[in-house]
């Protein structure tokens, strides 16, 4: 399972690098071994403590609580609850709200990921081989939305996409009658997707650009000498060579879009008519309603989906050597 990370990196799955055998004058054998353990654990201790209490324990607790009947009253004594098995899971999988949230999330992923990756790839290609000047300026401009605070952006989205707002004002100037963006289910999905895509294109572009720049110049020169045109080289060489980068970006983006919460929560609060509710938003809402057990079961379903989707992509896209 360790190979399905959201940030796979070569070497991530192999064991840690071998450090030097730390020779100390006058120390040998078991004493040195024990002192190495002491030093090693001493250095990782602060991290391990935080990690155990706030990552490992919560993950185990989430799994446990999803199998219980925990309610809002049990938050102060979470272990005094009754185990009910898979009842929560069958319950939520049957509930229409949850199914709706799953469908919406699937739509966000199926539309959002290819659009974001495609745009990021085209921009990376343009910056890598299309221009000489201003490359870093364009790169910075495309990347800036990535670091923009999502609440700040969502406030703007709520204002910009009002019926009479600046987006429709601009469209009107072009002679287009803009829709009631946040009032119509279909258009609300588009508005939320626009925000999510805008925030993620930069990440895709930077990663693709790093991948493109690692392709040796000689490869391009050789292909050019062989008379291959630009587009022919892109499709026959660049795309296959970028397979590892593509895998990384697509796993990263799929995980981001599967976990989408901030944008639907902030821009539309999941509406109108639950059109933009995501699974993560549903999980958060159940927590707010005090249905802790359902909330935890939903989060476990999401975890399984994330793992399955990541694993499937690694299997499909891993180089065939």
């Amino acid at each position: 399972m360790a190979s399905t990370t959201s940030r796979p990196a070569p070497g991530a799955t192999s064991s840690a690098p071998r450090g030097p055998a730390l020779r100390r004058p006058g120390r040998a054998g078991r004493g040195r071994r024990a002192s190495l353990d002491l030093v090693g654990w001493g250095f990782v201790l602060p991290f391990v403590l935080v990690f155990a209490v706030f990552s490992v324990a919560p993950a185990a607790m989430a799994l446990f609580l999803s199998l219980t009947d925990i309610g809002i009253g049990d938050l102060t004594s979470p272990f005094a609850v009754d185990v009910v098995g898979l009842g929560n899971y069958t319950g939520i999988l049957r509930s229409e709200d949850f199914q709706r949230a799953m469908l919406n999330t699937a739509l966000f992923v199926v539309v959002g990921v290819p659009v974001t990756m495609g745009a990021g790839f085209v921009l990376a290609l343009a910056l890598d081989s299309g221009i000489r000047r201003l490359r870093s300026v364009f790169r910075a401009v495309v990347y800036v939305p990535v670091i923009a605070n999502v609440v700040a952006a969502a406030v703007l989205w709520q204002y910009a996409f009002t019926r009479e707002g600046p987006v429709n004002g601009f469209l009107g100037a072009l002679g287009v009658d803009g829709p009631n963006w946040l009032g119509r289910p279909g258009w609300a999905v588009v508005a939320v997707l626009l925000l999510t895509v805008w925030r993620n294109i930069g990440t895709c572009m930077v990663l693709f650009l790093a991948g493109l720049q690692s392709v040796p110049e000689e490869v391009h020169e050789a292909a050019a000498l062989d008379g291959a045109g630009y587009w022919r080289r892109v499709t026959a060489m660049t795309v296959p060579l970028l397979r590892p980068t593509t895998l990384l970006v697509s796993v990263l983006m799929s995980v981001s879009f599967l976990n989408i919460f901030d944008e639907p929560y902030l821009v539309t609060d999941g509406g109108p008519l639950s059109a933009t509710t995501s699974v993560a938003k549903w999980v958060y809402d159940q927590f707010g309603y005090g249905r802790i057990a359902d909330s935890m079961a939903g989060s476990m379903v999401l975890l399984v989906v994330v793992l399955v989707v990541s694993t499937a992509q690694v299997r499909l896209l891993r180089s065939k050597h």
Partner: protein, 293 residues
């Protein structure tokens, strides 16, 4: 705009120069990039324009872009005097400052040990780090909340800071960098009689300079933009961070308050944008480094 283009068979000297593109193509590429740039920057422009508008302007011309004046700071005054954003700003600054320091220190320690000290259990710790990066956040925030309730830290800055005192991604970055520290240097320092702590402080930390910058920036970004967890933990205005304060204000606002809300957006965005302007290289290196090594 003069665009030099080599002939298709010319050997370009620049490592990433145009690879056999024709002048017409280059012009088309520039046009594409300019259009995309305008689209990417338009939201930022709208935020700034809106922050300087009066209520009257929003009602009189809801679809207009430019404000009447760029010197009308009324919205910012309201934000900091009536809406309590001074306090939120301070809270955000505290959370960011604390987490930057702890992340840099603890992740450097852990990264060094994971890269250079062959202790028993090392692979287990590292495997857990990698696995932790895959867990959806919504799966852990409720149990994290239960733990913070148990610790009696609900509605405190300590409760907000605790889970991100040291992030797995920071450890991951530090370990990548620490792996490249030459073993001979560590050996030499030890032969000179330096203690383990001494080796770390005097030899390893100075060599980790670029990693420290990357982790510091990453942590600052994450903490400054941290939203869901503070939203759950902070229950009163005394502990709101900027994003929580803004989202609560936005939920309670009516449609004529856009100016004040957008002034809030500007307040959150400016520190990050200023930092980005000066440290762009590290930002982008950091992203590329975490994914591709």
């Amino acid at each position: 705009m003069s665009v030099q283009t080599p002939t298709p068979t010319a050997v370009t000297v620049t490592p990433t120069g145009p690879r056999g593109t024709r002048p017409a193509t280059a012009v088309a590429v520039y046009v594409l990039l300019v259009v995309v740039s305008v689209l990417m920057l338009a939201p930022f422009a709208l935020v700034v324009f809106g922050a300087f508008k009066t209520r009257g302007e929003f009602t009189a011309d809801p679809g207009g872009w430019l404000p009447d004046s760029f010197t009308n700071v009324h919205n910012f005054v309201v934000l900091f005097t009536e809406k309590g954003f001074g306090r939120y700003f301070l809270n955000s600054a505290i959370v960011s400052a604390v987490t930057v320091v702890t992340n840099v220190l603890f992740s450097a320690m852990a990264g060094y040990a994971l890269a250079k000290v062959p202790f028993r259990g090392r692979s287990l710790v590292f495997g857990a780090v990698v696995l932790a990066m895959t867990i959806p956040y919504v799966a852990v925030f409720v149990p994290q909340f239960v733990i913070v309730v148990q610790l009696g830290l609900v509605d405190t800055l300590a409760g907000i800071v605790l889970p991100i005192l040291v992030m797995p991604i920071a450890v991951f970055i530090m370990r990548q960098f620490a792996s490249s520290v030459p073993d001979e240097l560590l050996e030499a320092a030890r032969l000179d009689g330096a203690s383990d702590v001494g080796v770390f402080v005097r030899v390893v930390l100075p060599l980790l300079g670029p990693a420290v910058a990357t982790v510091a920036i990453f942590t600052f970004l994450n903490s400054w933009n941290y939203f869901l967890w503070p939203l759950v933990v902070a229950q009163s205005v005394d502990t709101y961070t900027l994003p929580v304060g803004l989202s609560v204000a936005s939920a309670a606002a009516n449609t004529t308050d856009y100016g004040v809300l957008l002034a809030g957006s500007v307040t959150i965005l400016v520190p990050v944008l200023v930092l980005f302007l000066f440290l762009q290289r590290y930002f982008i290196q950091g992203i590329a480094a975490t994914g591709l090594k």
